[in-house]
Amino acid sequence: MALTREEVLHVADLARLSLLPEEIELFTRQLNDILAYVEKLQELDTTGVEPLAHVIPVFNVFREDVVSQGLDRDAALSNAPAREEGALVVPRII
């Protein structure tokens, strides 16, 4: 399953990355090398094997539904590139 140049551009778009012209070719080659290596997983028969997503048996961690002190708004916004009146500022969307 070799990635084409068009697919690389599509994936970059999905990932919100814009690639330089010389990077498109380089990434296409490098991603294909890695995917060819990863292909070796297909050698294994994994029929009926339950996928393992998480290694310790902890599920649904609950706590009491009580309000606790979090970060205050100014602290939470302190690293924002642009902010105004307690809100994040972004370029016009519509």
């Binding site: 997983l41 339950e50 994040l88």
Partner: protein
């Protein structure tokens, strides 16, 4: 001749501080002077916090005077720049976070503060912990103190090099596929990756959340036990942290290993293993046998698939975790005509090549039509790797292997070939996939004078077993006493 303060371990320094033979302020000044004079040669620090370190040292002095000291009170530490520190810049080795000042502490940092430790600053790493050499840092590579033409390993390369070069007393790193153990091995120090869930990940900038774990890099095994003791334990702020009791990790040090079964997996001693590494690890196995341990051959048949599993699962998780860097909430923002352009320009200018490569790979692996072939398949093989370990640990208490297939490589040697770089983690990655703990302990040197490490792996929550065996090995050898020509 008295040894310089900066060269001491935690276990040597703590009693001196407790007895008042030396003050935390003197120790901190000794460290800051050494960093100022020598770190330019190795580039281990991204940020040195002189005023913060001095203030913490003063507090530690007051605490010692009140008789409220812990074994870490007044001990100067370096923190990998991937764990957030309140008020102290945390970059993750990335341009995108180059000016990020966290408004809160990671749980590990809060615990170390409570214990009275002194933070010298934040140390270098591959960007977002993605790499095996620190060459992916936006702040330039670190160098190996044993030979400055060589890499210190990665991604916690700054932590390992700083410990080896006496630019801190001990350090914390993080390990997603070997990022504590591999640089520890390449720099000749001790590095411990705890069981997944043993140490809180709250405030650890996420790379691959199901694999990431924080752990110590130290000059000797006892120090690793002391540091792990301070950071281990359940944290309600990390829902994946384990609510399991934490044993006393120093209690087992010095206990004999007579009759203790050590598994040797044949799959780790095959093709691609450097002969000098193989010889050093074989010699280490003989030393352990001499101490009364019993070697048993075990099999981890799915080892050869671990790197492939990792480069599906870790990158898939990374592509999701790193979606948050959009130039809106924090971090670097590039200008653009509209919001989509701001996102794409911010991320393309803010992330380095390896981070973008992994985000691309992960995005592809999770994209419509490919999920089953990649993510699901890799998760199934991960289950097989886990089963291999469970079966092996029915035959032995710990498993002994090499840490890395070769000693440190030259700067620039693998930088254009990502796949070759990935394969340098072949012996460490499976522990992260299985969620089990592992330690790297110095076991020899190459003919070129570069350190070689022995890896010990244990069952889930088997850190005490690892420390017991590693300590016995360390006490029987003197590799850890050698200092780099720095």
């Amino acid at each position: 001749m008295t040894e310089p303060l900066y060269s001491l371990s935690i276990s040597r320094l703590a009693p001196m501080l407790a007895r008042g033979e030396v003050s935390p302020v003197e120790v901190a000044e000794a460290m800051l002077t050494r960093i100022k004079e020598r770190d330019g040669e190795l580039n281990t620090y991204i940020t040195v916090d002189e005023p913060g370190a001095r203030a913490m040292a003063q507090e530690a002095a007051a605490r010692l005077a009140r008789g409220e000291a812990t074994p870490l009170t007044g001990i100067p530490l370096a923190l990998k720049d991937v764990m957030v520190t309140r008020g102290l810049r945390t970059t993750c080795g990335s341009r995108i976070l180059a000016n990020f000042i966290p408004p809160y502490d990671a749980t590990v940092c809060a615990r170390l503060r409570q214990a009275g430790a002194v933070f010298l600053g934040k140390v270098n790493m591959d960007e977002f912990a993605m790499g095996s050499s620190t060459e992916n840092s936006a702040f330039g590579p670190s160098r190996n103190p044993w030979n400055r033409d060589y890499i210190p390993g990665g991604s916690s390369g700054g932590s390992a090099a700083a410990v080896a070069a006496d630019l801190c007393i001990a350090a914390l790193g993080s390990d997603t596929g070997g990022s504590i153990r591999q640089p520890a091995s390449l720099c000749g120090v001790v590095g411990l990756k705890p069981t997944y869930g043993r140490v809180s990940r709250y405030g650890l900038v996420a790379y691959a959340s199901s694999l990431d774990q924080i752990g110590p890099l130290t000059k000797e095994v006892r120090d690793a036990a002391i540091l792990l003791q301070a950071i281990a334990g359940h944290d309600p702020r990390d829902s994946t942290s384990a609510p399991a009791p934490v044993p006393d990790y120093q209690e087992v040090l010095g206990r004999e290993i007579t009759g203790l079964k050590i598994g040797v997996p044949r799959e780790f001693f095959g093709e691609g293993l450097d002969p000098e590494v193989a010889a050093a690890v074989q010699a280490a196995l003989q030393t352990l046998t001499g101490l009364g341990a019993e070697l048993v051959e075990v099999s981890l048949p799915h080892t050869e698939y671990a790197v492939a599993v990792y480069y599906v699962l870790a990158v898939a998780e990374a592509s999701s975790n790193l979606a948050r860097y959009d130039g809106v909430k924090y971090g670097f923002r590039a200008e653009g005509q509209n919001l989509l352009e701001v996102y794409a320009q911010t991320r393309s200018q803010g992330f380095g090549a390896e981070v973008r490569r992994r985000i691309m790979l992960g995005t592809y692996a999770l994209s419509a039509g490919y999920y089953e072939a990649y993510y699901q398949k890799a998760s199934q093989v991960r289950a097989l790797i886990r089963r291999d370990f469970e079966a092996a640990f029915r035959q032995c208490r710990v498993i002994a292997t090499p840490v890395a297939p070769t000693p440190a490589f030259r700067l620039g040697e693998k930088v254009d070939d990502p796949l070759t770089m990935y394969l340098s983690d072949i012996f460490t990655i499976s522990a992260n996939l299985g969620g089990i703990p592992g330690i790297s302990v110095p076991c020899g040197f190459s003919s070129g004078g570069l350190p070689i490490g022995l890896q010990l792996l244990g069952p889930v929550f088997g850190e005490a077993d690892l420390l017991q065996v590693a300590y016995a090995f360390e006490q029987a050898t003197d590799f850890h006493r050698r200092k780099p020509p720095f």
